[in-house]
């Protein structure tokens, strides 16, 4: 049984649409998984010990005349 050219054309068109939709789905899933990795990386920074010490630099640093140590907030 032979298929008509218009049916063949329609089949090709539907196949391409299905192909594109599958690919777009995979691309969106890939981008989402990369972004989840990115967020995981950003929020998994190492924890920092809380310090209440007043920063008192000593030793060798050379400070400008108007320098006053800034209190540092550690998370």
């Amino acid at each position: 049984m032979e298929t008509s050219p218009s049916k063949n054309k329609r089949f090709a068109e539907i196949s391409i649409v299905v192909f594109v939709l599958i690919c777009v789905g995979l691309i969106l899933m890939d981008i989402t998984s990369i972004m989840i990795d990115e967020f995981k990386y950003k929020f998994n920074q190492p924890a920092v010990v809380e310090s209440t010490a007043a920063p008192t630099p000593g030793g060798r640093p050379t400070y400008p005349p108007d320098y006053t140590p800034e209190p540092v907030q550690l998370r």
């Binding site: 690919c23 899933m29 920063p55 630099p57």
Partner: protein
Amino acid sequence: MRTRKLDRLLGAVAVISVIIAWVIGANLSGRDIYPSLQSAVPSANHFTPVNGNYAIMGDETENSLMGYVSIASANGYGGPMKVAVAVDLKGNILGLSLVQHKETPAWIKMIYDSGFIETLSGKSYLDVFKIGEDVDGITGATYTSRAIAQAALEGGRTVAGSQLGLELPAKAVPQIQFGLPEITLIGLFAMGFFGHQQNFKYTKQARWVSMLIGMIVLGFIYTRPLTLSDINKFLLGFWPQWQTNLYWYLLMGGLLFVFTVDNKNPYCEWFCPFGAAQECLGVIGGAKSRSTGQSRNFLLWVQRGLAWLAIFVALLFRNPGLTSYEVFGTLFDLKGSSFQFALLAIVLIASLFIRRPWCNYLCPLRPVTDLYRMLRKWMIDTWKQALAKTNVSLK
């Protein structure tokens, strides 16, 4: 006429939204630096800003200075990286930590897993930090490891010079990297130029030679196809050092020049490595250009929408490679996620029956070139209209 107006309206919306994403991304990019400092020197008690660097204090007494941390920058594959480089009082590296980067998380994981960062600890500010000489690079993350080594060098020398008062060795002038990829690229541009000439008899043959060279040299050997990441880097202003990235400048500059002057696409049909791979499969399977009938517009806008989304998100997060969804590296370098391997398999199978399915329906570069051409024509039309109006009013 109506379609052209709609195209122009949507094109303008795309450009404006991308500019908005750029501005928002630029304002959101700052982040707290202290966790990275602590990560570079876990034994530190606290840090104090000193002349643009940070003094590392071992405990709460003023004589506990352990060294300094400098925040150094270098260009990775995806864009600039910021690295916290901790240096002791003799000018040796105590530790490193990534503050900010634009690399694909998989590459960063590769760097962490390989222990590359730890190998830089203990190195002196006098060392050259050159991959292949005194530092071992990481295969598959060459640009990233090179950038971290470069940042370690810069950070170490900044601390040694500005905080410790040590004499610095002369700064090495970066060597211009001009090799086979650059020569091939120039040759392919030249071949495309002559191939496009109307009186050139062997256009078809020249195109196949160009495609095969592109696929083998730029694809399989060097894995340097044009990707959305390159376009994003260009838009974000993450332009790498020209001496070590001449290829990128030749590719981007060459394409912009030809598009602007000649309105022709010298890349996609002539030497895109992935396009060539699809055409080779197409020859095997007898692939044809298929008519998409009534779905033509739907498919066109899906492709454009996907490209817009990818650029918008990349600019918003200021990370060029974040949404670069091409599967070029998956084919040429056999690297990628399971989604990318599945996508590659589907595209390659489809290439046997449909001519260049990726290029025609999915590639983000086509909407970008369409938009560029439309804006170019719009500007020329506006210019001509303004010129005609001026002439009429003068008469």
